[in-house]
């Protein structure tokens, strides 16, 4: 009410909102202290590039989390998309092609097919959740198991059986592995894709009716219904958008690694959900922001990359990673510890 109070509130709100950024900075500082040569352009580019496809999947998952849902099938959909797009983008002269007679397709065709497949499955998730009232956890758990079966059937086919789908065409690997040369550095296109997707999602969340409805559904579904929000339709759209993002992620993963198997994407959903929560998305819905999600993913990737870079022994890596996740969120949660 009075300006002094609101100014104070702004400052404290700023601090509260920025705990996760502080965590990120502290992490980087910590690693740099342990190994000063961590501070290099190459490492920065590597971390950003590795975060890129994770940001895309995390943004999809985040939308669903904001509606108070969850998506355990995200990782398996990434796998499905990876396998589909890789199978259609093998180099013409590759000896072990899945479709030996497939002509050389323009890049966007397999990508769109993969995205359509995952979009459709995700829409089905949305229908199951919103029309049949199956809790999202169960709906997407069932879908996670089912999609894995589907992917495996597609993947494990004669003549070559369960072999990684490799021999990807050069235009595909260029699309996912190369970048823009700036001086002696190459900024991967991947980063660019993540930025574009982030902007689009930011606009949807903040500037469109769909975005407002998404927050409303997560914040109070009953109130949303009374306020005239078509909850089912909006949920289905939000799940579908997530599915499209998984499809894109899957394609990029196949291209980035140069091959795909039915296990590609396994457990990505857990990382994505965790990154969202670390980034301030509330699992009970209604709260979350695009910069938060991006920061969450970066925190995870800095941990992953940093520990490998430091050469920490694998077992210790697990322990340290587990600890950092808990401590970071505990730190962040102090804002909710009701100031009594």
């Amino acid at each position: 009410m009075n300006t002094q109070a609101s100014k104070k509130s702004n400052v404290s709100k700023w601090l509260v909102d920025n705990v996760i950024y502080v965590v990120l900075i502290l992490l980087v500082v910590g690693i740099v202290v342990a190994s000063p040569d961590f501070l290099s352009m190459t490492n920065l580019i590597n971390i950003l590039a590795q975060s890129s496809s994770r940001i895309i999947i995390a943004l999809g998952v985040a939308g669903i989390l904001i509606t108070a849902g969850t998506d355990l099938s995200a990782g398996r959909m990434v796998g499905l998309a990876a396998v589909i797009s890789a199978s259609m983008l093998q180099a013409g002269d590759y000896a072990y092609k899945m479709y030996p007679n497939l002509p050389d397709l323009p890049l966007f065709v397999p990508i769109l097919i993969a995205m359509a497949a995952t979009g459709l499955i995700a829409a089905l998730n949305g229908v199951i959740v919103s029309k049949f009232h199956v809790p999202p956890f169960i709906a997407t758990l069932g879908m996670m198991i089912g999609v894995y079966g589907l992917t495996s059937i597609y993947f494990d086919r004669p003549p070559y059986g369960a072999q990684p789908i490799g021999g990807l065409s050069e235009k595909f690997t260029t699309f996912a592995q190369r970048g823009i040369k700036v001086g002696s550095y190459e900024f991967p296109y991947l980063i660019l894709y993540a930025i574009i997707v982030s902007i689009i999602i930011w606009v949807i969340w903040n500037k469109t009716q769909l975005g407002k409805n998404m927050y409303a559904i997560g914040g109070n579904p009953e109130a949303a219904k009374v306020s005239g929000v078509n909850v089912a339709r909006n949920l289905i759209i939000i799940y579908t958008i997530a599915g499209l993002l998984y499809g894109l992620t899957g394609t990029l993963e196949a291209g980035r690694v140069g091959s795909a198997t039915n296990n590609t994407g396994n457990m990505y959903e857990l990382d994505a959900i965790a990154a969202c929560v670390v980034g301030g998305v509330s699992l009970s819905g209604g709260i979350g922001s695009v910069p938060g999600v991006i920061t969450g993913v970066l925190i995870f990737q800095v941990i992953n990359y940093g520990l490998a870079f430091l050469g920490v022994s694998p077992y210790i890596q697990f322990i340290v990673k587990g600890l950092i996740i808990i401590v970071a969120v505990a730190f962040d949660m102090r804002k909710h510890a009701k100031k009594k």
Binding site: A5, A216, A223, V226, G228, N230, K340
Partner: protein, 500 residues
Amino acid sequence: MSEASSTNLLEMLNITKRFPGVIALNNVSLKVKPGSVHALMGENGAGKSTLMKCLFGIYSMDEGKILFDGKEVSFVNSKQALENGVSMVHQELNQVRQQNVMDNLWLGRYPKKGIFIDEKKMYEDTKAIFKSLDINIDPRSKVSTLSVSEMQMVEIAKAVSYGSKIIVMDEPTSSLTENEVNHLFKIIKKLQSDNVAIIYISHKMEEILKISDEVTIMRDGQYIATKTAKELTTDEIIKLMVGRDLSQRFPAKINKPGDMILKVSNLTAETQPSFVDVNFELRKGEILGIAGLVGSKRTEVVESIFGMRALKSGAIELHGKAVNNHSPQHAIKNGFALVTEERRSTGIFPELSISFNSIISNMGQYRKGPFLSDSKVKEDTQWVIDSMKVKTPTQKTSIGSLSGGNQQKVIIGRWLLTKPDILLLDEPTRGIDVGAKFEIYQLINQLAADGKGIIMISSEMPELLGVTDRILVMSNGKAAGIVETSSTSQEEIMRLAALY
């Protein structure tokens, strides 16, 4: 001060409490005598609940001290408060809906036989308490199957059952009907005779002067005055609360009912037991009240009109044309708006901003191509804040941190933005202070004068008599009659309400 503490059971001295961005309590004091009913009055957001939460160990105060029974205390949690003779009926219903009545009553202090819970004792003790308070609820029924007023009575019984020296009642009557209010007053009188002190918070003026011995008034987190009830009148209380004269409780009527716009015929709900064969008409510019006892299905009638419930039969005609509201979405499109009864569960988006809460029903208006126009959103939010006089630091403040009354104002503002033809209000002034009530009545009046049709459910008889043009009285799911407000009486309405 030391002299006073010998006569007072409770002294809260110079309490200050700050929340991020808000000073909720600024140097507030409260002194309560044993065996007295001490009313705590103030507008929405004055800090009444916050003060009580500081006492009860839910919040810790930033400054000040509390003397209870002669000793300085500072409860760090509710358990301590309860163990030391302070109990509380909370403003918001705090119950575990999935559990049964006696589980809720004894939560935190179950009777035990060895390591096991003594269910039999629990049942019998509950029965005994209910009997002594004349409450007729099965201790084994699930809380979720109770009506709101029954839940409230259970809460009251629970607070009483601690045998405390002081009981805080934060708006205990906001969802009780006349009969139950009288019932509560009987309980309070009995407690008083046992030398229990009561701190009583309510926005219902009639109650305060009826039962309280002393009244403390707060405004904007500040202490204003403490007076004995005898030396006060309603108008004086209001003046102290609002800080200015408020000569009338109800604004002069300025609306002139015109042609019929809404006709409801033979409305019967799909799932029974519910309402059957409800008929009424609503005219342009008219305010139609709906009276009835709790459980008379008033809420279900308006929710059905608004498309939230399925109808078995009946017709709704708007401007002479049949409308079919399958869902709230259809209803909104057809020009209906509904302010629901339960603000917390079907009204607010607690974590989200006032701006968001204002515009959510009216999103179509802000579309510029695929996007939303920020400036228009801002403008409309400001309109809600200004015209509804919402007390808030910014548009971005989350609605959950506002006081209940201010939340309600935002919700009403939300619906006014949709520019409805028919405005359905279900207990629109529940838990709202007199000043704000007056503003809302004025608004309702103005809207009616602008030619809207208004239906308003209320359990407060004076309000219905003061604001409406006609009153539909519901009784046990049936329309017991429609009366002209100008020529009816409280007695006639009560008689109709008990008809079936």
